[in-house]
C-alpha cells in the first residue's frame, strides 16, 4: 500500500479558490469550491464561456495550485505523481505537438511515463483504432481538421488508462454525430476501468449523457440535484 488510499476519493477540494492577478486587476476565476470525485463517477461541468470550468479542470488535474483552500488526491497520490499516470487531461483547443505525427502524439504520455517507445506506439495505435482514426497514423497535426485533432487528443488521454479523465470542452469543435461518438468512447473507456470522467461543456446534449451535472457560473460551482458530492 502506498501513501494513498485506493478506496478513497480520487480528488477532494475544500473551499478551493483561484484568483489571477492582484490588487485592482485581480480576477477571481473560481470561488471556494468544495467537492469530491470518486471512481466511476461521470460528471458534466456545465457553464458558459469564462464561467471558470477550465480553471476548475486545471486545478483538478494538478496543473495549477489554488490561491485559497486545499485540494488533495487521496486515492492518487501527491501532485507530482498525477501526470502522466492516474490523471489524463484533454485540453481545450489544439493541443497536439506540431512536430510529432499522430501516433507519436498519442504515445507521448506513455513515453513520458517511461514506457518503451515501441510498446507505447503499439498502445497508441490501439487507442486511435478505438476512435476510428487508424488512417491518420502518420499525419502531422497541421494536416488534420480541428475535429480530427480533438479526437486524437482524446485518444492520447485514453491511452494512459487514467483513473481520472478530465476533458475540457472535448466536443467543442465536433459535429453532433462525432461529438456523440466521442462521448460514447469516453464513457466506455471510463466504465471499463472504473475511472472517473469529468467533462466540461456548454452543450446540454453532452451534459445530458453524464450521470452528474455540476453547473458553474461566474466562478461558482453550484450543487445540482443529480450531484450530492459537491457544494459551493
Amino acid at each position: 500500500m502506498t501513501d494513498h488510499d485506493t478506496n478513497a476519493a480520487l480528488v477532494r477540494c475544500d473551499a478551493v479558490a483561484r484568483t489571477y492577478g492582484s490588487g485592482r486587476t485581480a480576477v477571481v476565476a473560481l470561488h471556494g469550491a468544495t467537492c469530491e470525485i470518486w471512481p466511476g463517477e461521470h460528471i458534466a461541468l456545465m457553464g458558459a464561456s469564462g464561467s471558470g470550468k477550465s480553471t476548475l479542470m486545471h486545478l483538478l488535474a494538478g496543473l495549477e495550485e489554488p490561491t485559497a483552500g486545499t485540494i488533495t488526491w487521496p486515492a492518487l497520490g501527491d501532485r507530482t505523481s498525477l501526470r502522466p499516470g492516474p490523471i489524463a487531461l484533454v485540453l481545450q483547443g489544439p493541443s497536439l505537438l506540431a512536430p510529432l505525427d499522430v501516433v507519436e502524439n498519442v504515445a507521448l504520455p506513455l513515453v513520458l511515463d517511461g514506457i518503451d517507445e515501441v510498446r507505447a506506439q503499439e498502445r497508441a495505435r490501439g487507442a486511435l483504432a478505438r476512435l476510428e482514426l487508424t488512417e491518420l497514423h502518420d499525419k502531422l497535426p497541421e494536416e488534420l481538421s480541428g475535429g480530427q485533432m480533438q479526437r486524437v487528443a482524446i485518444a492520447r488521454a485514453l491511452v494512459q488508462q487514467p483513473r481520472l479523465l478530465l476533458a475540457d470542452e472535448p466536443t467543442g469543435q465536433l459535429d453532433h454525430h462525432t461529438a456523440a461518438h466521442v462521448i460514447d468512447v469516453l464513457l466506455e473507456a471510463a466504465s471499463e476501468s472504473d475511472a472517473a470522467l469529468v467533462v466540461s461543456t456548454h452543450d446540454p446534449a453532452v451534459a445530458e449523457r453524464l450521470n452528474q451535472l455540476w453547473p458553474v457560473a461566474d466562478g461558482r460551482l453550484t450543487v445540482n440535484a443529480r450531484s450530492s458530492a459537491c457544494s459551493a
Binding site: 502522466p84 493541443s95 507519436e104 513520458l112
Partner: protein, 884 residues
C-alpha cells in the same frame, strides 16, 4: 487606423520586436563604426605619407635652364623652395692614424642657409656640430674619419680641395635625394652613392663653380621644395592633386626643369594601401552586416508562424493582401528606424571607446555619409526580414495554410540543384585563378594615375563563406533527415528514453535547426577568420618591426666607437633587460659591390631576434643557422648574389674586408652555405651573414655593430629610456614600439587595434545573439508545445531533453562547422590579401584565447536561453495554454 491598432499590438510583443531591432542595430553599428574608422584611416594614411617625405619636390634644373627662373616658378607654387648644388667628385681621401683611405667617386652637395630648418628630416646628426661640412655615415666609415678630421675632395680636371669635417650625419632618404630626376622607376640607381659630403652653399660655390665652367656635366642645381600640406583626405585624390601640380610646373618651365615628385610617389604608395583598406572594410565589415541581416531575418522568422496566424485572422475579417503588406511595411519601418537609431548611437559609443572621438570619421561629412548609408542598410534589412516574408505569405498562403508550422515541405531548391557545392567549386576556381596571378589584389599600373582593386579576387573567400554556410545547412538537414535515426542518436545524451520522440521533433524541424546551425557556423567562421587574420596581421607587423629594429631594443654604436661583445654585460645590468645579443656589422666587397656583412652567434641569434623561417630559403631559420654554425667560414648570401655569381652550395666566395689592425682591405675566403632573404637590421637588397668568430678572427676585431636587447615582457620603450640615460649619446638606441609606427606600408602602420577590438567585439555579440537569442526566440515560439508537454506530465528533466538536444545540435554543430570554415577562410584570406603582409607569414597566428571566448560566450548564451526557457515553461504552463 488598422496600422495604428497593429502598432499598439506590436508594443505588447516588444521582446521579439526588440530582438529584431537589435539585429538591425548590430548591422548599422558595425557598418557605421568600421566605415568611419576606415575613412579616418585613409586620412591618416595621407597624413603619414606626407609626413614621411623629407623633400616634397626635387626640381632638377635642366642643361640650358636658368636656376633662378626655375626657383621663382617653384616658389610661386610652394610654401618654401631652396636651391641645392649637386657636384660629382672624383673621390675623397683622408689620412687618419697614419694611414690614408681613398674612396671612389661621390657627391658633394651645397646646402643654402636655412636648408635644415626648411627640410628637417633630410639630415640626421650622428656626431659633431651639425653645421659646416658634414659627411655621410658610410663615407665616414670608409675614410675612418670623425669630426675634426680633414678630407680632400677630388675635382675632375682641377686641383683637389681640403675641408675640415664638422660632423657625421645620416641621410635617411638618400634613395630619393640621389634619384635620377625624370627617369622611370626601373632606370633609377639601385642604391644611393656610398660617398657623400654636405657643405655650406657658399663654400660649395667656391669649390665647384670653377668645375662647372670646365665640366658642366658634373655640376647641377636642384630646387628643393615643400608644398602646402592642405591636401585631400583620400590618398588617391591627394595624389592626383600633387602630381597634377607637378605636371603644371613642368609645362610652365617649358623644359627648363623636371620635377622629382617625392610627395606624389609617397601618396602613390598610400593610395594602394588605401585601396587595401577598402578591401579590408569589405571583408571585415560586409560579412558582419550580412550576418546581422541574417540574424534579423532569423529573429523575424522565429515569429513567422504567429504572424501567419494573425494574417490569416485578418484575412478572414476581410483584409486584402495590400493591407497586410502595408502593415508589414509599417512594422519594418518602426523596427528598422528604432534599430538604425540604436545602431548609430552604439556606433558613436563604440567609436569613442575604441578609436577615440578624434579619429571617428575623417570629417563630419564623412561620418554623416557613413551614418546615413548604414541607417539605410539597416532599414533595408528590416524591410527584407519583415516585409518580404509578409508579402510572400500574403500572396500565396491561404487561411488554412497559415496553420502549417512544420509541414512536409521538400528540400529547398538550392539544395536540390547543389548550389552550395557549385559555390565551393567556383570559389576554388577563383582562388586558383587569383593565385596564378600572384594574388595581385590592388592593381597599380606603373606610370598611370588610375588604380583599382581586383575585387574578383575577393569572390574566392566570399563564395567559400557562402558555399560553406549552405553546405553546413545541407549536412545538418541531411543528418537530421536520415531515416536511420541519427536524430535519435544525437538526442540520446540529453533526452535518454525520450530520444525517439525528441529525435522526431528534431527531424521534423530540421529546416529550422539547419538554418540556426548554419547561422552559428557562419558567425563562428566570421569570428574565427577575422580573428586569425587580425592576429596574423598583428604578428607580421611585429615581425616587420623586429626585422627593422633587430631586437625589442637595439643599441647601435656611434660611428668611430669600437665596442667588443663584452659590453653586453653593461647593457644586461640595466633593469628590464633579459638578454643581450651582440651583432657584428662590417662592410665587405663582393666583386665591386659593397655589401653589409653581419657576424652572428649561430647558437643564440635565432631566439634572440626571433628569426622567422620566411627570412631564409631552403630551410628553417634554425636549420640555416645550424648549417652556418657547422661551417666556421660559412656564409649566407642573398638570392640575387647567388644568381649574379652563379654560385652553388659549398662554393668558395672570396670577399674583401677591412682588417682593423692594418686598416687595409684583405681577401677573406668564405664558403656559401645558404640563402638569406631578409635579416634583422639588414638592408632589403644585398647583405651577407657569417659566423661572428670567423669574421672577428679574420678582421682582427670583435667590434660589435649593434646589441639586440630582449626585454622579455618589460616595456621596450621604458628599457630604451633607461639605456639612453645610461649610455648617453655614445650609442643610438631604438625600440620596437617606435619602429612599429615607422616601418612598413602606411597600411600596416595604421594601428588596427581599435578596429580589431570593434570587429571581434561585434563577432562576440553576433555569436551570443545567434545562439542565445535565436534559440530563445525559437523556444519561445514553441512554448505552447512545452506547456502541452508539461500538461501531459513531462518532468522538467524531460523538457530539458527537448531544449538541450536542439541547443547542443545547433551550438556544437555550428561551432565545429564554423571553426573548420573559419580556418579555411583565414588561410585563403591570408593568401589573397598577401599584399598587406610584409614579410608574408609562414604560419597562421591563431588567437586561442579569443576563439575560446567566442565558444564560451556562445555556450553561455545557449545555457542561459535554455534554462530560462525551461524555468518559464515550468512556472506558467496554464497561462501559456490560455494565452495561445
Amino acid at each position: 487606423m488598422l496600422g495604428l491598432t497593429w502598432l499598439r499590438g506590436m508594443m505588447r510583443r516588444s521582446g521579439r520586436l526588440g530582438a529584431t531591432a537589435l539585429g538591425v542595430a548590430i548591422a548599422v553599428a558595425l557598418l557605421a563604426s568600421i566605415g568611419t574608422f576606415l575613412a579616418g584611416s585613409q586620412a591618416t594614411m595621407t597624413k603619414r605619407a606626407v609626413q614621411a617625405v623629407a623633400v616634397d619636390w626635387q626640381v632638377g634644373v635642366q642643361p640650358g635652364g636658368d636656376a633662378n627662373t626655375v626657383l621663382d616658378a617653384v616658389r610661386a607654387r610652394t610654401v618654401s623652395a631652396l636651391p641645392v648644388g649637386f657636384a660629382q667628385t672624383s673621390g675623397l681621401q683622408a689620412t687618419t692614424g697614419g694611414s690614408t683611405q681613398t674612396t671612389g667617386p661621390g657627391f658633394v652637395l651645397g646646402l643654402p642657409d636655412g636648408y635644415r630648418n626648411a627640410f628637417p628630416t633630410t639630415i640626421r646628426d650622428l656626431a659633431g656640430t651639425g653645421n659646416g661640412v658634414l659627411v655621410a655615415q658610410q663615407t665616414a666609415a670608409n675614410l675612418h674619419i670623425a669630426p675634426g678630421d680633414t678630407i680632400t675632395i677630388g675635382r675632375t680636371g682641377l686641383a683637389a680641395v681640403r675641408v675640415r669635417v664638422n660632423g657625421v650625419v645620416d641621410l635617411p632618404q638618400a634613395d630619393s635625394l640621389f634619384q635620377k630626376i625624370g627617369a622611370p622607376a626601373g632606370a633609377q640607381p639601385q642604391s644611393p652613392p656610398d660617398n657623400v659630403l654636405l657643405v655650406p652653399a657658399r663654400a660649395w660655390h667656391a669649390m665647384f663653380d670653377p668645375l662647372f665652367a670646365v665640366r658642366p656635366d658634373l655640376v647641377s642645381t636642384q630646387i628643393h621644395a615643400r608644398l602646402s600640406h592642405a591636401l585631400a583626405h583620400d590618398p588617391s585624390s591627394a595624389f592626383t592633386q600633387v602630381s597634377g601640380a607637378a605636371r603644371n610646373l613642368e609645362v610652365s618651365l617649358a623644359g627648363g626643369g623636371l620635377v622629382g615628385d617625392n610627395l606624389a610617389a609617397a601618396l602613390d604608395a598610400a593610395r594602394s594601401d588605401a585601396l587595401y583598406a577598402q578591401v579590408l572594410f569589405l571583408f571585415l565589415g560586409l560579412p558582419g552586416a550580412v550576418l546581422a541581416g541574417l540574424l534579423t531575418t532569423a529573429v523575424a522568422a522565429s515569429g513567422a508562424n504567429r504572424r501567419r496566424h494573425e494574417q490569416a485572422l485578418l484575412r478572414t475579417r476581410g483584409a486584402t493582401a495590400r493591407t497586410l503588406v502595408r502593415i508589414a511595411v509599417l512594422e519594418a519601418t518602426v523596427v528598422g528606424g528604432v534599430g538604425a537609431l540604436a545602431g548609430l548611437v552604439a556606433a558613436t559609443m563604440v567609436g569613442r571607446a575604441a578609436f577615440g572621438s578624434a579619429s571617428f570619421g575623417a570629417t563630419t561629412e564623412n561620418a554623416l555619409e557613413f551614418s546615413v548609408g548604414a541607417a539605410l542598410i539597416g532599414l533595408t534589412i528590416a524591410a527584407l526580414a519583415i516585409t518580404l516574408p509578409a508579402w510572400r505569405d500574403a500572396r500565396s498562403i491561404t487561411v488554412v495554410g497559415a496553420r502549417h508550422v512544420v509541414g512536409r515541405t521538400p528540400a529547398p531548391r538550392w539544395l536540390r540543384v547543389g548550389l552550395d557545392l557549385l559555390l565551393l567549386a567556383v570559389s576554388g576556381l577563383v582562388f586558383w585563378l587569383t593565385s596564378r596571378s600572384g594574388y595581385k589584389l590592388v592593381l597599380a599600373p606603373e606610370g598611370t594615375p588610375s588604380i583599382s582593386v581586383n575585387y574578383w579576387a575577393l569572390a574566392g573567400p566570399a563564395l567559400l563563406w557562402a558555399g560553406a554556410g549552405l553546405l553546413a545547412w545541407r549536412v545538418a538537414y541531411m543528418l537530421l533527415g536520415t531515416p536511420a535515426g541519427i536524430a535519435r542518436l544525437l538526442a540520446r545524451p540529453f533526452s535518454g528514453r525520450l530520444a525517439g520522440t525528441v529525435g522526431a521533433t528534431m527531424r521534423r524541424q530540421r529546416r529550422l535547426l539547419a538554418s540556426a546551425l548554419a547561422l552559428v557556423a557562419l558567425i563562428t567562421a566570421f569570428a574565427a577568420s577575422t580573428s586569425v587574420f587580425n592576429s596574423t596581421y598583428k604578428a607580421q607587423a611585429d615581425v616587420d618591426a623586429r626585422l627593422t629594429n633587430g631586437g625589442d631594443v637595439t643599441v647601435t654604436e656611434a660611428p668611430g666607437v669600437t665596442v667588443g661583445p663584452a659590453a653586453a654585460r653593461d647593457i644586461a645590468s640595466v633593469p628590464g633587460v633579459h638578454a643581450v645579443e651582440p651583432l657584428q656589422h662590417r662592410f665587405a666587397y663582393v666583386g665591386a659591390d659593397l655589401q653589409d656583412l653581419y657576424g652572428v652567434r649561430t647558437a643564440t641569434i635565432v631566439d634572440a631576434t626571433k628569426l622567422q623561417n620566411t627570412y631564409f630559403q631552403g630551410g628553417t631559420a634554425r636549420e640555416l643557422m645550424r648549417k652556418l654554425g657547422a661551417q666556421p667560414n660559412g656564409i649566407l648570401l642573398s638570392a640575387e648574389t647567388v644568381k649574379d655569381f652563379q654560385l652553388n652550395s659549398g662554393d668558395q666566395v672570396r670577399l674583401r674586408l677591412r682588417d682593423v689592425r692594418s686598416t687595409r682591405l684583405i681577401e677573406v675566403p668564405f664558403r656559401y652555405v645558404g640563402v638569406a632573404k631578409e635579416f634583422p637590421t639588414a638592408p632589403r637588397d644585398s647583405f651577407l651573414v657569417a659566423n661572428a668568430d670567423y669574421v672577428a678572427q679574420r678582421t682582427s676585431s670583435d667590434a660589435v655593430g649593434a646589441f639586440l636587447v630582449d626585454t622579455s615582457g618589460s616595456s621596450p620603450r621604458a628599457v630604451a629610456d633607461r639605456l639612453r640615460s645610461r649610455f648617453g649619446t655614445s650609442a643610438a638606441i631604438a625600440d620596437i614600439t617606435s619602429a612599429r609606427k615607422t616601418v612598413g606600408t602606411s597600411l600596416t602602420a595604421v594601428d588596427l587595434a581599435g578596429l580589431t577590438r570593434v570587429e571581434l567585439g561585434f563577432a562576440l555579440v553576433l555569436a551570443a545573439a545567434a545562439t542565445g537569442l535565436v534559440l530563445a526566440l525559437g523556444f519561445a515560439e514553441r512554448r505552447r508545445m512545452f506547456a502541452i508537454a508539461l500538461a501531459l506530465g513531462a518532468k522538467p528533466r524531460q523538457l530539458g531533453g527537448f531544449v538541450w538536444s536542439d541547443a547542443a545540435f545547433v551550438t556544437a554543430g555550428g561551432l565545429l562547422a564554423g571553426a573548420l570554415v573559419g580556418l579555411s577562410l583565414a588561410l585563403m584570406l591570408v593568401k589573397v590579401l598577401t599584399g598587406v603582409f610584409d614579410p608574408p607569414p609562414a604560419v597562421l597566428s591563431v588567437p586561442w584565447a579569443y576563439l575560446t571566448t567566442v565558444a564560451a560566450v556562445a555556450i553561455a548564451a545557449v545555457v542561459i536561453a535554455g534554462t530560462t526557457t525551461i524555468r518559464r515553461a515550468r512556472t506558467a504552463p496554464v497561462a501559456v495554454l490560455r494565452e495561445l
